[in-house]
């Protein structure tokens, strides 16, 4: 039997960040996860392996594009086994790193599945066999999320994959259908498209990346429409059946049903279902505590990430959107500080979101769409990358930087970016918003030339109608 001050259930980026901070603060900590090392979906089956593959996809695309610059490489030859090894090596290196950190910090690592006994104890069915009971003062539930698989899309055939299956790179299918135009589908679809698959994306709503600002999505959609075979919007998959030659998929356009129109059929070698993720809150024994789960399956927590059971906290995907690793890590650290007796809360002003397609898309803080929904009066300042010297040298002038600004205080409320490297650039926006920077601050901070980061500064200049590289006089008010 183990007696510990804190037990963390789930070793993803939220769980292990929490466990490590708790150890650094001098608490005794146990960390429970089914994998051999901490990392969770993010490192094993999510952010990290997909980024390794997207890096390669970008290289392939660039090598093709280089022809326009006078450099020709010929058609790339893809050794799928070696690519898979590279991806696995990336994952292996990162997870052995977190494993080392567990040892250095003397975190008690329990490989296995937890079942909660009551508000102060749980049992772990160990991967090595046997059961270990753990007495704890506090617990943090960080069980994450799972790919959603609606029953209608559930086909018992290995050719119908979720994101985990697609990351395994079983083969390069001649044709691939991606169901769902969210970030996971677009990222993995891009990988397969670069490797040579004819990729079709089907999305139920009128646009890709629902919820994000349309002007940013438009830039991404234009390029996607070139790399993918086709993008079907306002279209649902009504039937999927495994056949010898592939997966037969029946589509239906929105409104077609009302007109009595029949769906259209198409056969794909493989199908990737990426219609979202659902919280993994079905933790055995959770009903033996006062922890409450809402209708969508999220564990309910307060601003300190405490559940209805005072000794139990919860963080990450299992407590709510956005389901992002960096949000989970931050929440994990907040929960630990609360447990350590600090009066702190999870109160970010800007959580960045990045879509690692080509071009990348990133945003943080208030979006224009959200402002419109909430009837907030905001001023939008945009700087098109066509006016950026750096973007022109990259032969990528399709990008866009935009600022969402409070017209009264001129304070920065949100940032949206689309273009190569947007994911790196967004961090400046996060810092600016968190620090309460206004448009003048951004304008007066010297940005290095020639870089894409200048577009942040020049967007602020656009706000004042004084951008060096955009002629756009301030309108008379």
């Amino acid at each position: 039997m183990i007696s510990t001050q804190l037990v963390v259930v789930g070793g993803g980026p939220g769980g292990y960040a929490a466990a490590f901070l708790a150890a650094d603060l001098g608490l005794s900590v146990a960390l429970v996860d089914p994998e051999a090392n901490p990392g969770g979906v993010c490192v094993y089956r999510g952010c990290i392996p997909s980024k390794a593959l997207l890096h390669v996809a970008k290289l392939v695309d660039d090598s093709r594009h280089a022809k326009a610059w006078g450099v020709e490489f010929g058609e790339p030859k893809i050794d799928l086994a070696k690519l898979r090894d590279f991806k696995n090596a990336v994952v292996g290196r990162l997870t052995s790193g977190t494993g080392q950190l567990v040892k250095h910090r003397r975190v008690q690592y329990l490989q296995g599945y937890a079942e909660i006994a009551d508000a102060h104890s749980l049992k772990v069915s160990l991967a090595s066999g046997g059961v270990e009971s753990v007495q704890f003062e506090h617990a943090i539930l960080a069980t994450g999320s799972l790919p959603a698989m609606p029953p209608m899309l559930k086909v018992d055939d290995p050719r119908v994959m979720d994101s985990t299956g697609a990351l395994e790179l079983p083969d390069i299918p001649a044709s691939l259908l991606v169901v769902g135009g969210g970030y996971i589908g677009l990222e993995l679809g891009s990988v397969y498209a670069a490797l040579g698959s004819a990729v079709t994306v089907v999305e139920m709503t009128p646009g890709l990346l629902p919820g994000a600002d349309r002007d940013l999505v438009d830039v991404l959609a234009r390029r996607i429409s070139q790399t993918m075979k086709s993008v079907l919007l306002e279209t649902s998959v009504v039937k999927m059946a495994a056949e010898a030659k592939g997966i037969r998929v029946t589509f239906q356009r929105a409104g077609a049903n009302a007109q009595g129109g029949a769906g259209t059929d198409q056969v794909f070698d493989r199908v990737l279902v990426s219609v979202g993720r659902r919280p993994n809150s079905k933790i055995p024994g959770l009903d033996r505590t006062q922890v409450q789960v809402d209708q969508r399956g999220f564990i309910m927590v307060d601003e300190q990430r405490r559940t209805h059971e005072p000794s139990i906290f919860a963080i990450g995907d299992v407590v709510g959107e956005p389901m992002l690793a960096h949000k989970a890590s931050h929440e994990g650290r907040v929960a630990v500080e609360v447990i350590a007796g600090e009066n702190v809360a999870f109160a970010p002003r800007a959580i960045p979101a990045v879509v690692f397609t080509d071009p990348e898309m990133a945003w943080c803080g208030l979006t224009e769409a959200q402002a419109a929904k909430e009837n907030r009066a905001v001023t939008i300042a945009k700087f098109p990358w066509a006016a950026s010297g750096r973007a022109i040298t990259l032969d990528r002038t399709d990008g866009l930087t935009k600022l969402v600004i409070d017209p009264e205080s001129e304070r920065l409320l949100g940032v949206g970016l689309v273009g190569p490297g947007a994911g790196e650039l967004i961090a400046e926006g996060v810092l600016a918003i968190e620090m309460g920077a206004n448009a003048t601050d951004l304008k007066l901070s010297i940005h290095p030339h020639p870089t894409l980061s200048e577009t942040m500064m020049e967007s602020a200049e656009v706000f004042f109608g004084q951008a060096t590289h955009v002629y756009r006089p301030k309108r008379a008010r």
């Binding site: 405490r306 956005p322 939008i380 009264e408 309460g436």
Partner: protein
Amino acid sequence: MTDFNLPELGENIAAGDVLRILVKPGDTLAKDQPVLELETDKATIEVPSSLAGQVKEIKVKPGDKVKVGQAILSVEDGIGASAAAPKAAATPAPAEAVAVATSPAPAKLPKAAAPPPPPEPAPRQDKVVDISRGARAVAEPVASSEFPPAPAAPSVRRMARELGVDINQVPGTEADGRISVEDVKAHAKRLLAGASRGVGGAAPVTSVELPDFSRWGEIERQPMRAVRRKTAEHLSAAWATIPHVTQCDLADITALEDLRKKYTKPVEAAGGNLTVTAIAAKVVAAALRVFPQFNASIDFGADEIILKKYVNIGIAVDTDRGLLVPVIRDADRKNIVQLSVELSQLSEKARTRKISLEEMQGGCFSISNLGGIGGTYFTPIVNAPEVAILGISRARMEPVYFKDGAPGQSPVHGAFVPRLMLPLSLSYDHRVIDGADGIRFLRWVVQALEEPFVLALHG
């Protein structure tokens, strides 16, 4: 009526898709005001109007494909020529730069006539807030009730939380009202100072900038004791919040003094001291029954006056630690002997520091007798949250004019008679007690002291 046609937008841009229409029929359109958002294969652009006037009809809708020259909307009293070449077309520039030039700018969207509804508050359930939201919104920040959010860095916000300060209430002193760590600390200090003063929270014990007194001679600095500090804060608050009126009068206690001397011994036997203060406590307790508005407190928060159905009298006691006010409970239900005994005990406890906090709380009215030392009149400060206080000074022999002779003597016309006169000062809170009631109360006290039968009659 004039039509506004889609102007030339730049080289190689012949058409575009309407994304959004930014005006509606009836709007007053200004020249250069953006009227629609157009998506071209180069960029998404806002199209400014070349006309001014009232929008009559909008001829396109979102999703329409429009060509250069196509009518977008019609304007009544159109000012400015639709034929005039729009700026963008007139600017010779490469295609990309043109797209840029007609591209986004900080355009104020036309405001809707009705004020926007306030955003819905976050749903609360007990102390646990459900912050999860629809699966579609990917990266919105946790909703904040204040908009725009307070301009403070995360470290400053965290400190505010730790100090129990609402960051949205902290005035920022840095450029553009940004809030610094010092601002949060200063605000917390102000809050603490306000809280310790209790009622009202106004009236800070101000620290006036002091000259260097040692320039004029030797000085000594002593730490301010807790009692002194508390008294200072309490009296500053009372003085600053209560509009005081002090009403004075004289009581002829010649007869009372004879009685007091006569009954000194039996009271001493009971363990008390038959003092003017003890007798005054009995008289005031009876007076509070007759004038209930003097046994009250004001609750401004509730817009109510609280009337107390019990009579507890506080007696100011001079101690080496400073002024203390022990409280005699239910003074109206005790006789003068009991009051004398209790007062002796409480005074002794106060002087020997054995008095408990409990024994100094719950007073309804205070009496301060400085007559043992001297003085004629003074202006006592109401012991908030009470509403009145009686000050007693030293009684002395005075010549008093009696038209019909002194009491108990044969009538003599127009005689000055030596009488023992007691100066009384009643301070009251003018917010709840009118001047006429003030003097009525004091006259009642004077009469009861002059003719103790009044106590039995009305008290």
